[in-house]
């Protein structure tokens, strides 16, 4: 019985960690601009696909990962430069719609150039499952979880302790005021896209050995990541992690104890309930809108 519970928990944590990584990317850009970047899922896909294709060509794994992350970051910068920046004074909603366009473009580009096949990436430290009290866990899940925690710690430090991080937060709170105190808001937005693309790519690479990867994997990861981010509170690093893990664990427990048919329904009901009582999510900032 304990073993079964633990297995459901591990299963939930594994999926939850992938959602959490996706959610983090949403939070960074939201912090910098108030924009929800719906191309985030495509950055996740780009990272996983690039690493898998390079690794299949015989490029050593660490190098493949490095190239994939840098490549996705450049992709993020290009999206900002070519799609977001030309519309700089547009409403937030317009910018969000632009990111949807960018995501369709990136997905289509990969579909046409690379193809529609599914690709596998070898696990970082073998496929031999670890046994804990009768339940099993893949070493790759620990990688996902560990790297996620490291990223959150680094981001927390970046946003609260460094001048650049604070400048990013200031830009999101009030762009005009940030400009007046000498913050280069244009550069901030650019950096935030590059950073979140690199993070998304790293997430995509970490989960690729578990989920495999294909041109359309960003749709699912992006959607669940967005849900996790909303659940935890947009813009909060802790919120992204808690939201992601909660979503994953609830899904796994529902599949295990109730029925796998309700696996996707129960978390969404949970989200409705949470957002009803806490509209800004579990860890969302208590903002008051000035009228």
């Amino acid at each position: 019985m304990t073993a079964q519970f633990l297995q459901f928990l591990f299963s939930g944590i594994t999926i939850g960690a992938t959602y959490a990584l996706a959610a983090l990317g949403f939070s960074i850009i939201y912090n910098a601009s108030g924009v929800i970047n719906f191309a985030q899922g495509e950055f996740i896909m780009l990272g996983g696909m690039a690493a898998a294709l390079l690794a299949a060509q015989g490029v050593p794994l660490p190098l493949a990962i490095g190239i994939a992350v840098v490549g996705a970051a450049v992709g993020g910068l290009l999206v900002e430069k070519l799609a977001i920046e030309p519309a700089k004074n547009a409403e937030v909603v317009t910018l969000i719609i632009i990111t949807i366009g960018a995501s369709l473009f990136i997905r289509g580009l990969v579909q046409v150039t690379v193809g529609k096949g599914t690709h596998a990436l070898p696990s970082f430290s073998g496929d031999k499952p670890l046994e804990v009290l009768g339940a099993t866990l893949l070493p790759q899940s620990l990688w996902v979880l560990g790297v996620t925690l490291v990223i959150v710690a680094v981001l927390a430090w970046f946003f609260t302790r460094t001048l650049h991080g604070k400048a990013m937060l200031a830009t999101s709170h009030n762009k005009l005021a940030a400009q007046l105190v000498g913050i280069n808001t244009k550069a901030i937005l650019l950096v935030s896209f590059g950073l979140s693309a690199a993070l998304g790519a790293l997430g995509g690479i970490l989960v690729a050995p578990i989920t495999n990867t294909s041109y359309d994997i960003g749709i699912m990861l992006g959607l669940k990541g967005f849900v996790a981010a909303t659940l935890g509170g947009l813009g909060s690093g802790t919120g992204a992690i808690v939201g992601g893990l909660l979503l994953g664990v609830v899904e796994a427990m529902t599949a295990g104890y109730i029925s796998s048919s309700y696996k996707d329904a129960v978390p969404f009901v949970l989200i409705l309930v949470v957002l009803f009582f806490m509209p800004r999510g579990l860890f969302g900032a208590k903002l008051t809108e000035r009228v």
Binding site: F8, Q111, T118, A120, L138, T211, A255
Partner: protein, 385 residues
């Protein structure tokens, strides 16, 4: 010239033009084969090889002189795996493209969305979808080439019976393919004396199925597990199965019958059993197998051109095209009613999917012998002993 006259003249000219082009088509123009396939979207891995196969073989047939001295012309639309769009394109094929014959409907959903239109218009229609519902009950103008999910389930149960496995856990995908498979599996289980002791599902894009498998593992008397899904989901299930160290025999459906599955699931796929047609085991077929020349030739032609492995889905498209060509030859014209009768009279046609014997009550014409039971050994599909 007044404006009215000008208009009259223009419309007369257009009518004349339309008449000549229509006339030309009806007399000696190309034989128009329409197709609506899911080349993009979730079912793309089915529709893509189907379209590639049709294009390749239409080209080859034309290079060899065409059919009845006429060239084949493929008029293709991509429904993006959306049944609503399939319906719209079917209308266009019938009403404005005036096709002589119609191949398509990659998925059961798309096919069923087009069936009422082709039935009404009276166009011979060969579907590439797996669902039994396409040909049962028999519809006058509708045929299909791929095996049905029911046949796959029956083949698996026959194999289980041989090995004395009676209590089976079912894990199916929530996609159309998986759900149709689940329905058929449950429907024929009792007939084969199989008891379904667990019935779980997973989403086609899910990243982890250990929860469902743990639940199945917890059912005390289960003897074997059957997975019904397509593409990458079953590969994840297979990996999770190995991760959890479940030792029960694992069966998959014909939905995973491509090399991609072995590539994605890796070592975890060792020992997995599945039903599949000859196409996938072309090399291990005995030399006297009637299908051997057909499947080896298709494999070679397709792989040479596209540098990727053949799949059952492309094979189904090839069978549909060749059955059509045979029927047009036999009918001696593209008269729709005559071609339909010729398709229905198809006997002993050796295709990639099996030997086809159609009749007025069977618009698919395949029996269980079309399936072989395969087992994955050392990263290869081999005939199961």
């Amino acid at each position: 010239m007044t404006r009215r006259n000008l208009l009259k003249l223009a419309s007369a000219a257009m009518a004349a033009l339309a008449a000549t082009s229509m006339g030309a088509h009806a007399q000696s123009g190309d034989i128009k084969i329409g197709s609506v396939l899911s080349v993009t979207g979730p079912a793309a891995f089915l529709g893509d090889p189907e379209l590639k196969t049709l294009q390749l073989y239409v080209e080859r047939i034309n290079a060899a002189g065409g059919v009845l001295g006429r060239k084949l012309a493929l008029v293709h639309y991509d429904d993006g795996s959306d049944a609503n769009k399939a319906n719209g394109f079917a209308k266009r094929l019938i009403e404005s493209d005036n096709v002589d014959l119609f191949i398509g409907g990659t998925t059961t959903g798309s096919t069923m969305a087009m069936v009422p239109l082709v039935e009404k218009a009276g166009v011979p229609f060969i579907s590439l979808a797996g669902g039994v519902i396409v040909v049962e009950p028999v519809k006058k103008w509708v045929f299909k080439t791929p095996h049905t999910d029911r046949m796959a389930a029956e083949k698996v149960f026959t194999d289980m019976n041989k090995r004395g496995l009676k209590k089976v856990a079912l894990l199916s995908e929530t996609s159309g393919f998986g759900q149709s498979g689940r329905k058929e599996t449950l429907a024929v289980a009792a007939k084969h004396g199989i008891d379904i002791v667990a019935d779980e599902t997973y989403g086609p894009k899910d990243a982890d199925m250990t929860a469902q498998l743990t639940k199945i593992k917890g059912v005390s008397d289960v003897q074997a597990v059957l997975v019904f899904g397509l593409g990458q989901g079953p590969a994840v299930v297979t990996k999770n199965y190995a991760q959890l160290g479940i030792k029960l025999p694992l069966y998959q459906s014909h939905g995973v019958a491509s090399d991609e599955y072995i590539k994605l699931a890796g070592k975890a796929a060792e020992g997995v059993r599945l039903p599949a047609p000859s196409l996938l085991v072309a090399d291990s077929l005995p030399a006297n197998d009637p299908q051997k020349p057909v499947v080896t030739s298709y494999r070679k032609v397709y792989t040479d051109k596209y540098k990727e492995d053949v799949s059952l889905f492309g094979g189904a498209a090839l069978d549909a095209l060749m059955i059509s060509v045979e029927a047009i030859k036999k009918a001696g014209s593209t008269d729709k009613a005559k071609v339909r009768d010729a398709i229905e009279a198809t006997k002993g046609f050796i295709g990639t999917g099996g030997i086809v014997n159609m009749s007025a009550t069977d618009h698919m014409g395949l029996d269980l012998s079309a399936f072989h039971m395969l087992q994955i050994k050392n990263g290869e599909f081999t005939l199961a002993q």
